[in-house]
Symmetry: none
């Protein structure tokens, strides 16, 4: 008798674990469904903005029922925040990898500036940022949270990079914080505002960004580069010319 009970209990336990492992996922736990919802929500929120997006729209777009959405997300705001959080992750993921391996300073700044400028002004990212900005009246801190975990972290990475270059005697900067902002802005030169206000309806081209970033890096290094940097660059130039 006791054994029977034990067996039954054991089996039940295994069934439970099974459920968690490979059977039907628990309510609100299925990552596939979650993605499905977020994907639908993305399309609707990004297109219409937070307020104008209706849960019915999302329901339709995501291909799940209203009730299911509310199993995965407590309400519209939480769904939106989850979406934005995910979006932020996607946007800023790997954006700053370039800064980790520091070979040629100018080269690195140009490469990074291009990635930064391209990403931030890409249609999708602009839309996401617009949506966040538009919702930040209704969901306070959402904008701040987005900025803090996105642009702010990037800014910190840029500062780290500049500090390393200063240490190496390549740059001379009084206010590194400000310099990091200046660098970023020079790489975006006007693009962000043009895009965010939908004055530009299309993302800038590769060439545009090339031109802007190169000019920005020039200015930046003219302002903050040391004699040592100049000398190194002269050596490089000579080396390159020698090759030809």
């Amino acid at each position: 008798m006791v054994e029977t009970v034990n067996n039954a209990e054991t089996e039940q336990c295994e069934d439970l674990l099974d459920g968690l492992r490979r059977g039907r996922p628990a309510a609100g736990q299925d990552p596939v469904k979650r993605s499905q919802i977020i994907d639908g929500a993305r399309r609707v929120f990004i297109e219409k903005g937070f307020e104008a997006a209706s849960m019915n729209d999302i329901t339709r777009e995501a291909g799940v029922s209203k009730g299911t959405i509310y199993v995965y997300f407590a309400n519209k705001e939480e769904l939106f925040e989850a979406l934005i959080e995910e979006e932020r992750g996607t946007i800023f993921k790997n954006m700053y990898d370039m800064l980790d391996r520091a070979d040629d300073l100018r080269q690195t700044l140009v490469k990074f500036g291009k990635v930064l400028s391209m990403k931030i002004t890409s249609a999708r990212v602009i839309q996401a940022q617009r949506t966040v900005i538009g919702a930040s009246d209704r969901i306070p801190d959402m904008g701040a949270r987005f900025y803090e975990r996105g642009p702010k972290r990037g800014h910190d990475k840029v500062m780290e990079f500049l500090n390393a270059a200063i240490e190496r005697g390549m740059l001379k900067i009084d206010d590194v914080d400000l310099a990091a902002y200046q660098f970023t802005e020079l790489c975006l030169a006007g693009l962000f505002r043009q895009c965010i206000f939908a004055y530009r309806t299309k993302a800038p081209t590769q060439d545009e960004i090339d031109h802007i970033v190169r000019s920005g890096v020039d200015i930046f290094l003219k302002a903050y580069g040391t004699e040592k940097l100049a000398e190194e660059e002269r050596h490089q130039m000579i080396a390159i010319e020698a090759k030809h």
Copy 2:
């Protein structure tokens, strides 16, 4: 007296017909009432954003009836657009006066940079911009129109100014368009994004702006200033030192 009234009525009738002829619903003609409505709408829209603002709120705030609003504006969106148009006018009014009288170049750039930075990051203007950005998905072209008639015109003014300085031999710039953007961005260095995402909840202080703008102008002139400018500045310096 009676005749005057009749005349007035006749004129009004003609206005009405005019309105109908041009395919628009007969709009209210009283500019005072129009202002009254826009003022109420401003308080509500700016505070709550487009969607969250209710026509009832505006009615209450403006002190006019629902019907009256609909005589002056076809719907909520048109009222909002009219408001933004007016707001844009107010924001950018006089912002670029400084650039008209060109005495000392660095001085002028610093003064203008400060005004620009201060205005664009002021609480009210940030709110207005947020509202425009948030609504721009729902009301296409609104953001573009705002940018075009606001920041874009400012940008043109800056270009004019730079061209004048180039003419005077003070600056040497290949891409004046880009340089104008760079100048603006250097003056805002990070502030706009911080404010628009509500990461900064308060407008920057005078000192912050001073610091940023001075640094920005330094960089800008180091990049684009000619030898002639440098010389003039040396002379000035000597003149000032002589005074003491």
Copy 3:
């Protein structure tokens, strides 16, 4: 000019007063519409109970739009409470008038007992009480408030009446409060519970009530009547017999 303004103001004032007096009533102020809504609500709430009644049902039944209901009543609960309040007023209105003129004691008790029993067990009043009881889980104090302003006040009136009879030497009662309850219960003898549980689906007949109330008053006076009362009743009996 000043006169014109004054005239205009005077006229406007009169217009306002007009509006209040005979023009269109202010929002949520039209007693006719209010009645219309309450009447619709009564039918629905009484039939279905608070929770099962939907605002759409009420909308349909009242013949007004959803929005209008919400102009007159802040929400479903307030509408329900207003209805119950009105119902309570109607039910207990004039119920206790009989007790004011105290001629013959037994006669008065019988007459009052009949009215009380009839009203409280009438189909409409039973329905209302059921609805109140059913809603009292969700709207705390509603039942208590109903009881306090309805049955409780009646109870106080009965106590007053009994005290007056005691003063006149007709009754001798230690615990008047208890006696008042006993009187009421004797007049209802089982009817209330039968009706409230819908065991009885129809209100009791006149004859039933007659029988119950007479028996109840008999018992009550046998328990609390004084020798003086008995003597008076003997005299009356003789007078009546003499008439024949």
Copy 4:
């Protein structure tokens, strides 16, 4: 072991077929699980009322799955009815035992009156009755069924008891049915209505009930007691006094 299981399955199959034959969905057969569900349902329904109780709440409280509940009960209403049926059984179980052994009449009436009054006004029973009353608009006959199998049966028992006392020459009653109601009502004197409307938020105390019941029995016996009863009580009194 295997055989037992097979037998059990066979029986179950037959039960299922039975269930299908009688036009009901195959109901669960395990009385333990059934109890478990009803116990959970009781806690939820009694606390929240029919409408406000959610099947999820019951699921949680009962510790069984949604599907299982729907195997044992066709829907929410049937579950509720089953619960009420059980509750009724519990409430009125043993309530009338006292009336079976008839020693001293007054004593018996007082004892029974107290039990009756106490049970019917106890917090739990009042809640149950409120829930029944509240749901009886939505589930027709439920209130009637509750009353018929609960209070009504009690009423019949009281009538039996009174008839026995009449037979013994202790009481003289024309309308025993009415008298039985009168007795019950005198024992409750106001308490039921006070409790059911939640005017009283706590059950009456022992002392209150004592006082009410004693007074009620006094009145009842003054109205219906015979000379024989009076004489017996005089003897008893003397006997008691002699003891001292």
